[in-house]
């Protein structure tokens, strides 16, 4: 990451410049405490120089540099050490994008064609597109010269390819333990971008909403999470990305046998009738990936599902696409908890 070319040739000539730059950097960072980081407003080349010369600068300017403070980030691939407040950054995961948007951190590169709102913060310039959630656009990445790349489950396969470009953080959220894992990620992101207080506040919001929702979901019967994909169905268990319904909100599983699978367990309508859940949580896969197709409601509206107590009592909760795409993200937590809260309150 560090580039040695600058210091070798003529250090005497360069040093005053470096000192001036690092001073400017220090000032800008000290300002970020209250305002949005203005690093996003300086153009890309400037930021690059700042980062490259950070080491050299710390030797010259004798105040030990808030600018070179490094931080260990806990990732799936082990701890990664990198300087605080990296910029520009590229993020390939919707959950992380939601968290960063909530923290108001500038993201320079995001995947194209994302179907969710709440992925970029309001006060930041529009991000550039750098491929899709599955496939990075290496040309675009090279143009940005990111200081950090944040990836989630969908891009985890490309980790090695990406880590040759910039320090890459695999911050995939563990579906089996979505609450703890997403809490950790939010905390880490806060620490990395010097916004620990804000992260704590956001986490508090989530926790409050969970506590609120838990009150209404207690003792209201068992639930089954079903994904409708076209005209086909699959069921999700407590280790899936919808596990939070069972292990955070405490809704018992209508079927305890469900094991984890990336796209759920394929089931038939007879299965739903047999399990007879009191609550049916429905994820419309087609809606999640922005398709106009037969709605999940039309698919489920048949004599077999009609026999379940969930359907007859009108206790069917349609989850937002966020819960599929951005599970564990800040806005997903808020949105789904709201949806579930409203549905359960209405049923009382």
């Amino acid at each position: 990451m560090s580039n040695p070319t600058i210091t070798t040739q003529s250090p005497l000539f360069k040093r005053p410049l470096l000192a001036a730059m690092s001073a400017a950097l220090l000032v800008s960072i000290s300002l970020t405490g209250c305002t949005s980081p203005d690093s996003s407003e300086t153009d890309i080349d400037d930021t690059k120089v700042e980062n490259k010369t950070a080491d050299a600068a710390s030797n010259v300017a004798n105040n030990d540099a808030v600018s070179v403070a490094t931080i260990d980030v806990d990732t799936v691939k082990g701890d990664v050490t990198l300087p605080m407040n990296p910029s520009p950054i590229v993020v390939y995961d919707m959950s992380l994008l939601q968290d960063l948007a909530a923290l108001d951190v500038a993201v320079t590169g995001i995947p194209s064609g994302l179907k969710l709102d709440n992925l970029s913060s309001k006060n930041q310039p529009d991000p550039e597109e750098v491929g899709t959630v599955f496939e990075p656009d290496l040309e675009a990445l090279n143009a940005i010269q990111p200081q950090a790349i944040l990836v989630g489950s969908r891009m985890a396969e490309k980790y090695h390819e990406l880590s040759t470009i910039a320090p890459t953080l695999d911050m995939t959220i563990d579906t089996a333990n979505i609450y703890e894992s997403s809490k950790q990620r939010l905390h880490d992101l806060g620490a990395l971008f010097g916004k620990s207080d804000e992260a704590l506040k956001l986490q508090q919001n989530i926790d409050n909403k969970i506590a609120q929702t838990q009150k209404v979901t207690q003792d209201k019967g068992a639930g089954l999470v079903v994904m409708v994909n076209g005209n086909k169905l699959s069921a999700y268990g407590d280790k899936s990305r919808y596990g939070f319904i069972h292990n955070v909100l405490g809704v018992p599983m209508a079927d305890k046998q469900i094991t984890d699978a990336a796209h759920g367990q394929p089931i038939s309508f007879e299965y739903i009738q047999k399990m007879n859940p009191d609550w049916l949580f429905v994820v419309d896969r087609s809606a999640a990936i922005g398709e106009d197709s037969v709605g999940a409601k039309a698919v489920l509206n048949n004599p077999l599902v009609a026999q379940t107590s969930a359907w007859s009592k009108d206790q069917v909760v349609y989850l937002s696409p966020d819960s599929y795409l951005a599970f564990g993200g800040y806005y997903q937590w808020m949105k789904d908890l709201d949806t579930i809260n409203t549905a359960f309150t209405k049923a009382q």
């Binding site: 086909k232 394929p266 089931i267 299965y271 047999k274 896969r285 990936i289 106009d292 048949n302 004599p303």
Partner: protein
């Protein structure tokens, strides 16, 4: 007619590189077909199919008892068992049977018309073209009804097959390997186009749902279009003799006063329609159209009027069996029938290839 024609074997025995699988066929080279009378085979497979139907009706996640259903029948009152039977079990079983029949018969027709044992509807671009049509119509007119989507898929399937027929016109019908190879490449190209469009429009998931053969979503009111394939099979049976004659060669057809062109297009059109209907309602199921006709024609020869009923019965039984396996091994969850058939079909296909033809 054996799986491998005599000509194919001769061609390859000349080459020292390819080890011969078996030499037994050379020793007694007499045709050994129709040792068992067809009526016996057909009634035996009807019995097997009947058992599989009973099994298919009995297996399911929801609670169901035959006695409860019989009581409902006797007292002429609808109860939970009889309604479950009518809403879920019977439609699923019928859909499976119709799919099995359609795929197997379509495979047999295309094999006879193209005079080639190695082709099936998905190897000549029919199912891929149907999927392409389905994707395009869903993207352009997402609100269109199933009937419209089906018609478009049928038209594109016919167009795809016409294109394929145009491609293979210059190839001598004796070139046994070139036709399926071109078919695979052709189908692959269409599939690539479809995948590219789906990738660009982020509809890959939707596409995979359609393409993957699976009966789990079949309920009363959601499969009925498949009955049309049954009708097509009846038509196929009616023109079976003409198709057989076309399969014998251009000169024979000419001498017997059959318009080869007309009958060929009729056959091709029917195959395209059947493939499109199955793809739209159930999805693709690999191998049926290849394996079932091959097994039957080993036993009964290529006279379609005699072999088509057997092909239909065996096709239905094969899909029934695979769906029952798919429903049971991970009960109460399901394994899609396309997955099961992919595994079973591979094994059977290898067995067909490796077994010496004359032993059939």
């Amino acid at each position: 007619m054996p799986l491998f024609s005599r000509r194919y074997y001769d061609m390859h025995t000349a080459s020292p590189k390819i080890p011969r699988v078996s030499k037994k066929w050379q020793q007694h080279d007499k045709p050994s077909k129709a040792a068992i009378p067809p009526w016996l085979i057909n009634s035996a497979s009807l019995v097997v199919m009947g058992l599989l139907v009973l099994l298919s009706l009995s297996i399911g996640v929801a609670d169901f008892s035959w006695s409860g259903m019989l009581q409902g029948l006797i007292s002429h009152s609808a109860n939970a068992d009889s309604s479950l039977m009518l809403v879920s079990r019977l439609p699923r079983t019928i859909a499976i049977i119709l799919t099995g029949i359609a795929m197997a018969v379509a495979g047999m027709i295309i094999q006879v018309v193209l005079k080639n044992r190695f082709v099936e509807p998905s190897m000549v671009g029919a199912t891929q073209s149907a999927a392409l049509g389905l994707l395009v119509v869903s993207l352009l007119f997402p609100a269109s009804t199933l009937m419209v989507k089906m018609s478009v898929a049928t038209i594109t399937a016919v167009l795809g097959m016409m294109l394929f027929m145009g491609l293979i016109r210059r190839i001598p019908p004796t070139d046994f390997l070139l036709i399926p190879l071109i078919g695979i490449v052709f189908g692959g190209i269409i599939e690539a186009v479809t995948t590219f469009i789906a990738y660009q429009t982020e509809t890959l998931q939707m596409l995979s749902v359609w393409q993957f053969g699976d009966f789990s979503s079949v309920l009363a009111g959601r499969y009925e279009l498949l009955w049309l394939t049954g009708g097509l099979c009846v038509i196929a049976y009616m023109i079976a003799d003409k198709l057989t004659i076309v399969g014998l060669g251009d000169n024979i057809a000419l001498n017997l006063g059959i318009s080869k062109r007309q009958v060929t297009w009729l056959g091709v059109g029917m195959v395209a329609m059947m493939s499109a209907m199955v793809v739209v309602t159930v999805g693709m199921i690999p191998f049926i159209g290849l394996i079932v006709p091959n097994i039957v024609s080993r036993i009964m020869g290529d006279k379609l009027r005699r072999s088509l009923p057997a092909v239909a019965l065996l096709g239905a039984s094969a899909v029934l069996l695979c769906d029952i396996i798919g429903r049971s091994i991970r009960y109460p969850f399901e394994v899609p029938v396309a997955t099961v058939f992919g595994v079973v079909g591979t094994v059977v296909f290898l067995w067909l290839l490796l077994r010496a033809p004359s032993e059939a």
